[in-house]
Symmetry: C2
Subunit: 419 residues, 2 copies
């Protein structure tokens, strides 16, 4: 069979220039999150198929790369459909593996457990510009702590990280799934229509409040209900203390303390901020994943359509593995999105080490090569990165390429030394 | 379906203690290899199935995790065998993806190209102690340079790395596939039996020269041939300059310069050594992979059965993708093996940052929590890693666990301050 030079459809080779930025970003992530006491962990790229298809992943479950059974377990003759032929798949996020990991290893982990996980995830999405079928995610999660200290810390750590890599003018949006639900129920939407309502609400930033009103009407909801709901959002816009207002309007509908909890998180995060950003209660924030049970949050930056980080509380997921509910809260940064932004900004990795390139003319005698390599070893001992390489025919192009790679010191060695 | 807490069969969750060592090792690898001018790259975990089954991977091709086609391309009714249902698989090594990568991107890469790749590979091997179905490999390769500067540099870089992470008393074994072949042909083995001969020769360190002789006889090779072959190894043992001896014995059989080339590599590597080790021509070194075309080498350490690194020259593999042969040479360290050794040695990561843990008694008022978190932020600003966490009921166990994680400074905060 002919060999294929291209990567598999929708995946990509990472070239050196991008790789330097990725290495830098991973380094900053690890340094920052470890300084908050998050512990690095790693889970297999391959996950049990039953864990990937347990209706926790929403639409992502439709995009799984499934792995075929092997040996005698693979039986084409008795297979009725593809499910009979697979036993595992590539993870579509880091949360499902994390929760499995915690369930499997809880006895040897500290309580609460603060995890940091960075690694590739896979979705057989339609390939499109800037979206790949293999991409990195980077998550921090706290498991086993029900207090809002989790949210405060996750947001503080992530904003600290964003500040450290040069992001500014960003906004942290926060809401609570319980508040979201209570606002809809208070307005009169039936409990079983909430997902449909939130899909429309989620378009607020694109179609505006009037667009949301129109679409909800078109979906056939009662005029009175839609008007009451839209009225709430209008009222909220006029409040200087929207959370206090909502807390009193929704008293009896929403779980007690929900508004106060959001308020505490907002003021605490603001007091802990090490870089300037806006912290903002956003009653229109939905976040897609069905597993969220409480606070939800995301970070947007000015001039960029979508968010650069998102997360929330999911207190019921560990219980699906262990039958014992365990509070959990996580924040995931859009690793690839941040890489794209840094690449577009022509980001230069700070504190890159000094690089020396030594170009050897062709037909250099062995002893002169060795001499050069010894000299290179000496420079490495002094902390420099030293490349010893062949001089190309097109030396000008070679030197330009090396300069672009950060080689500030380029030396040439000729068979017959030119003075 | 019930969810599964264990990782998929043969794969493993990486716990924090091991993760710290892995992060440390990856850091040292990158630092060392980058100082030699190797450029980090990354290739997808998923590879085109035709590239994985092109008979370059030897037995590894029997161990591929195959990924199912999706959507309309998946047709169970017309499928005659599993090959009709798969379009890709998980890579079993980093060399095949590297060569595809180079073939795909050669125009934008420097020539020669020195690549560093670290990442997981997958083999559906029988699970056994210390061997996993997902494991990391770490490779350096030079593509586009036919000179022995590649070998000298690959070996020097790898021995420098091993020295830096505390390995001593190791031996670099070197041979050349052409020498290996010439010795067998010179002795009278038919060309088409060489693979069979080398499988026996490879057992030398286990069954000794007499065992090799006996097994070759049992395999039905001519007595005269086997005796001539074994005689060569006996003669070699008595030579003070085995390479010069072989060069003259095999003159006309082996490509000219093969022995001198090995000699140059050995003496150069010795002169460049930054840590003490033995550099040794080893005529019994075979290395399994069929793609090697020239020098082959591996590193063993005293008291350990198998090697910690292995590699060689493979000048014909790029040509399979591009139809133009490109010289290539690589060295792969046994990442998981080194991790196991470091774990067994109870290795402590050097220069770990100072870690402070602050334990908060239950029911701490919000303002006191915030105050503690502010204090933690201040300590982080001074370069410390600071964990703020709940005080457990079993505080003694918690503090022991924290101490084991490297928290040298553990502070306790009570609702009613004591003393």
């Amino acid at each position: 069979m002919t060999l294929t030079k291209k990567p598999v459809n929708g995946m990509k080779d990472i070239l050196p220039q991008e790789m330097y930025i990725r290495d830098y970003l991973i380094g900053e992530i690890k340094k920052t999150y470890k300084s908050f006491g998050f512990t690095p962990i790693e889970t297999p790229v391959v996950e049990n198929i039953e864990n990937l298809t347990s209706k926790q992943g929403g639409d992502n479950e439709k995009l799984i790369f499934k792995i075929m059974k092997r040996g005698q377990k693979f039986n084409l003759e008795t297979a009725k459909n593809e499910n009979d032929l697979t036993d595992s798949g590539l993870r579509y996020d880091l949360t499902v593996p994390l929760v499995r990991y915690y369930s499997n290893n809880a006895n040897s982990l500290p309580k609460p457990f603060k995890a940091l996980q960075i690694g590739p995830v896979f979705r057989a999405d339609r390939p499109q510009k800037g979206r790949f079928r293999e991409f990195y995610q980077c998550d921090i999660d706290t498991l086993g702590d029900a207090s809002n200290q989790c949210e405060i810390e996750l947001i503080t750590a992530t904003t600290t990280l964003l500040g450290r890599i040069g992001f500014a003018n960003f906004t942290v949006h926060i809401n609570d799934r319980r508040m979201l639900k209570a606002m809809a129920v208070y307005s009169g939407f039936p409990e079983d229509s909430l997902d449909q309502v939130f899909i429309v609400l989620d378009k607020m930033d694109k179609i505006g409040i009037d667009g949301v009103e129109q679409e909800l009407m078109e979906d056939g909801f009662a005029k009175e209900t839609v008007e009451k709901y839209v009225g709430l959002f209008h009222d909220l816009q006029e409040q200087s203390e929207p959370l206090e207002f909502l807390g009193s309007v929704l008293a009896g509908t929403v779980e007690e303390g929900t508004a106060e909890n959001l308020k505490t998180i907002c003021t605490s995060v603001e007091k802990l901020a090490s870089v300037p950003f806006r912290m903002q209660f956003d009653p229109t924030l939905v976040r897609g994943m069905s597993y969220y049970t409480g606070t939800i949050f995301e970070i947007t930056t000015e001039g960029l359509g979508s968010s650069v980080a998102g997360g929330g509380r999911y207190d019921k997921m560990v219980g699906r593995f262990t039958n014992i509910d365990t509070p959990a809260c996580g924040f995931s940064i859009g690793f690839e999105r941040i890489i794209t932004i840094l690449m577009d900004r022509n980001f230069q990795v700070p504190d890159a080490p000094d690089r020396t390139a030594i170009l050897l003319e062709k037909n250099m005698p062995d002893d002169r090569i060795l001499e050069t390599m010894q000299q290179a070893q000496k420079l490495r001992g002094e902390g420099r990165e030293v490349l010893v390489t062949m001089m190309n025919k097109n030396k000008k192009h070679q030197k330009e390429q090396l300069a672009a790679e950060g080689y500030t010191d380029i030396r040439e060695v000729y068979v017959n030394p030119r003075d």
